[in-house]
Structures are given as structure tokens and as C-alpha cells.
């Protein structure tokens, strides 16, 4: 009987034999952590080679670069205070992306959130003891308002939200400039930023370094979003829609309702991020407070594959890369372009390590 040739689509004849690319089942968490760590390590090694090639002395490299960051309380505080708002915007992106609403307008919603908070602060609205809470609520409402129009256009007219949310960023930014060069400019100096927030309008310090409540708030919000996506009924329905929208529709899931709910939540969280940055870090509304957050949030959500815990991890990674990038410049006087190259290498290595979580390469024959 003639042997039947079995076609092996994914098989290639490699140098040592044949390799198959196989989809893995679920990989245990511990093993996943190991794979991602290997990715980070590889990224660090490649970066070290790059630095050495550009003339940095290899001795003490690890010591100055890694140990210096994690052994200094101040640097740890710097990482955490940057990671907290990054986590919030990463969660905001996650909520929208889970609902397949491509919210590229996080930056605009951050700006509007901060504008909402500042509006409350400027008008001294409500009792002073409740001011900070009122500001947070106003920021969330403002963030929702800023996503509402693209959301409406998407649901009603099928207008592509990637374009509309992106363009809303520019409108938000120019509105911010309009306020800061106009009625909200600092009455003391006539310069284009809002007046400093009063003490009751700032996030409370937690008493360690210069950290404030933003870190605990970020942790709580990670848990909330994890519950919402992983354990609540809405999360269940959303997973259903995410994996098979047609089937979900046929089963009577109200897809539009879910999209509206999660997109609004995304806008509210982005607005809250704007509140956190302006009240927790800048202590006033400035022209540049939002820089580096909006698009980092999108990057973080993609890297984290919409997993809220992974969002926190990648937010910290991005913050570490920022502080490490500065220390590289300070220590070695390398140009910023080199720093960006190193940051990109590490991010790509980590993203690529994901591949080995979902696939395995097996040698056959």
C-alpha cells in the first residue's frame, strides 16, 4: 500500500531537522512570568551590547543602570508616581478595546478630565472637605462627555472611531490652550497655566517620599477592572461579544449597550487619569501635563493584551524605562536617540516573548 504523504503546513526543513509551530494550551502563570522575564533579560543584554559598542565601559554597567534605580528610594518613588497614572490610562484603553471600541482619544479625555477638575477647583464648588472628590467626579463626567460624541457617531452612523477619537484630541488640546491663554490664565502672573490648586484640591500624600494617594487608587482600580472583566456579568457578556459578536447578537446580547457602557467607562477612567496627573503631580492645569500618557496607555493595553494585572506590570515597565533612560543620559551622556533605541529593544523583546506563551516550536524528525 502506497504511503500517503501528509502535508505539514507549518513545517520547515531547518538546519537540524524539521520544526513545527504549535499552538499551546493555557500556560501556567509561573511559566508565563518566566518567559516574560527571559524577554526582559534578552532586551537588557542586547541593550548592554549596544551601549558597550558605543563606547560605554562594561564594568559597573549593571550596577549603575539597574541597581541604582531599584536601590534608591527616590527612584522607586519616581517610577511609582509615573506608573500610577499610566496604569489608569492603560486600564481605560483596556476597557474600550475589550468592547472593540478603538479609543485613540485617551489624550483628549485626559485633557478634558483635568479641565473638569480644574473647573471645580477654580469655582470653589461645594464644601472644601469634599472638593477633591467633587473634582474627581467632575473629571470622570468630563472624560465621558469627550468620548460621547465619537461613541454616538459610531453607534448611530458607523463613523470610524479611530479617526473621530483621534481628531477629538486636537480639539481638546486647542480648547485647553484657549482656556489657558484666556480666562483661566494664572491671575497672579498672567502666564498661561491655571492658578495653583489649594491644599484641599490636591491628592493627599501617603507619607513615603513624595508619593500621594494615586498609587493606592491605581491598585484599587486594577482590582475593580479585574473584577469587572473577569467576574462580573458584564465581563462575561463582553468576553462573549469579544470572541464572537455575531453569535452573541444571535443569542440576544445587546452589543450596542455593552459598547456604550464600556466606552463611557473608558472615557471616565481617562478623565480620572487627567484628574490624577493635574492634582497629584502638577498641582495645576498646565499646557503639557498630559504629554506621554495618552499613547502610552494604548501601548500598555496592547502589550498587556487587555489583562488588568498585566496593565499594571507594563505601566511599571514603561516608567522604569523612562527613569532608566534618564539615568543613562545622566551617567553616560549618550544621546536621547540611543535611549529610545534601548527602550524600543526592551519593549519589542517583551512583546515578542508573548509569542512563546501562545506557541511552541517543536522539532520533528
Amino acid at each position: 500500500m502506497a504511503e500517503i504523504a501528509v502535508p505539514k503546513a507549518a513545517a520547515r526543513r531547518g538546519f537540524f531537522g524539521r520544526f513545527n509551530l504549535e499552538v499551546r494550551g493555557h500556560m501556567p502563570i509561573a511559566q508565563q512570568v518566566l518567559v516574560v522575564s527571559a524577554g526582559i533579560l534578552l532586551g537588557l543584554l542586547l541593550s548592554a551590547l549596544l551601549l558597550i559598542a558605543s563606547g560605554v565601559k562594561p564594568s559597573g554597567l549593571a550596577n549603575e543602570f539597574i541597581v541604582a534605580i531599584f536601590s534608591s528610594k527616590r527612584n522607586v518613588a519616581a517610577v511609582l508616581s509615573y506608573a500610577a497614572p499610566l496604569t489608569i490610562v492603560g486600564l481605560a484603553a483596556t476597557l474600550a478595546f475589550k468592547a472593540r471600541f478603538w479609543n485613540i482619544g485617551i489624550e483628549g479625555q485626559i485633557i478634558f478630565g483635568a479641565i473638569g477638575a480644574t473647573l471645580v477647583a477654580n469655582s470653589d464648588f461645594g464644601p472644601a472637605s469634599m472638593r477633591i472628590v467633587t473634582m474627581a467626579l467632575a473629571a470622570m463626567v468630563a472624560g465621558m462627555l469627550w468620548i460621547a460624541l465619537p461613541l454616538f457617531l459610531k453607534i448611530r452612523l458607523q463613523v470610524n472611531e479611530i479617526i473621530s477619537t483621534l481628531l477629538m484630541n486636537y480639539i481638546a488640546f486647542n480648547f485647553l490652550l484657549h482656556l489657558l491663554y484666556g480666562s483661566w490664565k494664572d491671575p497672579q502672573s498672567a502666564f498661561p497655566n491655571s492658578k495653583l490648586f489649594d491644599d484641599v484640591e490636591r491628592l493627599m500624600p501617603v507619607g513615603w517620599q513624595n508619593l500621594n494617594l494615586s498609587v493606592p487608587i491605581a491598585i484599587v482600580l486594577v482590582l475593580c477592572v479585574a473584577w469587572l472583566l473577569g467576574m462580573s456579568r458584564y465581563g462575561f457578556l463582553l468576553n462573549f461579544v469579544y470572541s464572537n459578536a455575531r453569535m452573541a447578537r444571535a443569542m440576544g446580547v445587546r452589543i450596542a449597550g455593552l459598547t456604550v457602557l464600556f466606552a463611557l467607562a473608558s472615557g471616565a477612567l481617562s478623565g480620572f487619569g487627567g484628574f490624577m496627573i493635574s492634582t497629584g503631580i502638577e498641582s495645576r492645569l498646565t499646557q503639557s501635563f498630559f504629554i506621554g500618557y495618552g499613547f502610552s496607555g494604548i501601548l500598555i493595553a496592547f502589550l498587556a493584551r487587555n489583562n488588568p494585572f498585566a496593565v499594571a506590570f507594563f505601566a511599571i515597565l514603561i516608567a522604569v524605562l523612562m527613569v532608566a533612560g534618564q539615568s543613562l543620559q545622566v551617567f553616560y551622556q549618550i544621546p536621547f536617540a540611543m535611549v529610545q533605541l534601548i527602550q524600543a529593544i526592551i519593549v519589542i523583546c517583551v512583546a515578542a516573548s508573548e509569542f512563546f506563551i501562545h506557541y511552541r516550536i517543536r522539532m520533528v524528525g
Binding site: D186, S189, E282
Partner: protein, 361 residues
Amino acid sequence: MGMTRLSSTLAWGLALSVVPAVIHAEPFKLEGDPNPALVIFSQKNDGGWSQSLDEARAKVEKELGITIPVVENVPENATAIRPAVELFIDRGSNIIIGSAFGYSDTFLELAKQYPNVAFINPAGTTNAANLQSIYGRTYESQYLCGMAAGALSKSGKIGFVAANPFGLVNWTVNAYALGAQKINPDATVTVVFTGAWNDPVKERAATEALIEQGIDVVGQHVDSPTPQIVAQEKGVYGTGHHRDLSEFSTATQCSSVWVWDKYLTPTIQKIAAGEWETSPYGAFLSIKEGGTDIACCGDAVSEDVKKQIMDERQAIIDGKQVYAGPLSDRDGKERVKEGEVLSDADLWGMDWYVKGVISQQ
């Protein structure tokens, strides 16, 4: 995206009354030899504001025989500024030089936290016993370049591309017009505000529109050299800001240029000698003290005009005031009385234009 750099650039200035005077009991004392470091908010080779600081850094290094490390692309938010500065301080830096308006609040906090470190912030607004914000009297150099523009313009119609309409931009517009009118009393300056410090697309559109309306010299107070490049393309003349923009365009005949080293070198020496006393209102530097100066002039400016400009420059160094009375705004309202000079506070708050300035508002 493009938005990220906008805010910034430059040039804002030190406000007069921003932070109430901290009590300056005694001059600031530096421990050890001066060890400065520079923190730049954008790329150090941006062709404009940041590059002018980096070039000054190189000159100061040479003059004082020290090395000044630099870190670039530190955006104007506290999460980025603080670790950069603290890393330098950990490494032994004891003079921190900033570069942006948006560093003001964080530098004030850091100055309180590190009383043994001296802070200098170009374009800042905050001051303390160990923190000095500095800015230049850019109206002096823009006035001199305005003279070149007045001489170069055949039609008497001059254009000006500016960032945002507030004090420190308005004073360059007005001074530019006054300079042009010194040569040609009928000259007008049509100003377009782009609403951004660095937006080459809008700057190109504004410059092209101005040239279509018949202007034949373009001045500027924005960060990119785009207006000068467009001027060259369209065959008209121009004048630059921040640095000598003839590097980018043959149209450029005069530039208002930053000369920070003229201030930084003696200041660092004073800090080292324990003679540095900060002003609670910031240091507002004239040509003489090392704010801006001019790079003048190109081949198109006649020897006669060039001599007039250089004579006027000398007069300013000797004490001549650009905003001396009697001076009225374009609506006829008197702004400076005969025999008086516009105060610094009125300069920072300038929201009016002199006769001959045509603007959107």
C-alpha cells in the same frame, strides 16, 4: 504625535510677581567646586531654543574649563523633571540649569528640598534664594532686526509670524514695528499668530498667506525656521529668532540670537565665589547682560543701514530704551508718558499694539 512638543518651547519668561520674595538672608553658598548640569526639555539640536542653550553650554565649558553634562527630552511635567534633576544631584551636580517655563513649579520645589544646590531656569517664572529664573529683553534685538526689515522692504509692508499673543511675544511684535518705522515711518507689520510654538505646517501657511498679500519681509517669533525657508522659496527677505537662521535660509538678513553664555559664565563664577544673590523677580537680561543679541546683517542690507543698526545697538547698550515715552497704542491711547519708560510689569502684561501693527484680533 506632533502635539507632544507644542506646549513648550520656549520662551515664556519670568513673571514679576509670581512668587513672593523669599527672604534672602545671605548670599547662596556652594559646597565644593561648581559642577553644573543642563536639563533640556526637547532635542538639544532643535535648531532653535534648546540648541542655543546647548551651544552656550559648550562655550561655558571652554571658558571655565569644566564639563557640563546634559540630559535632553525631559518634558515639562514633574514626573520627568524630578528624577532627571535628582540623578544629577546624586552624581554630585550642584548647579542645575533648566530650559523651560514648564519647569518653574518643580524647580521651586526642588530648590526648597536641596538648599545647597543652585538652580537657574531660562524662561522660568519662579525664584528663591537658590533659584533664579532668567529671560532676555528680546524686544531689544527684535527692534534692531526690525530696522533691517524696514530698510529691506520696498512696499513698506512687513509680515510677522508669531506663536501666542501674550506679553513676551507682543513685545517683540511691537519692537519689530518700532524698529521698522525708525527706518521707514510708514512701515506696517502684519502679524499672524499660529497658536503654537513649533508648528511648521501652520507657519508655512501663515507665511505664504502674508506673502500673497504683498509683504516682502518676514519676521518671526516661533521656534522653527519655516518662515525663513518659505521666504527664500518665494524670493522675499526675512529675519530670524533664537539662533542665526541664515543657517537654514539665504533669505535671512538678521536674527535675534540668544547669548546665554554671556550670563552663565560670570554667574557660575559668582556662585563659586559665594557672591551670587538672586532677585525675587528673576533676571531679565538686556543685550549688555547676555540675553539676546543680533546676528546681523546679510548681504542685502546696505553698509549704511548696517551702520545705523550697529549704532542703535550701541545706544541700547548705553541705556537707550525701546519703549520710551511718549508712546501710544494703535487706537491712540497713551501707554507711556513723555520722559518715562515702560515698566517691566507692563512689559510682561503687554496686551496692546503700536501704530502700524495689523493683527487678527
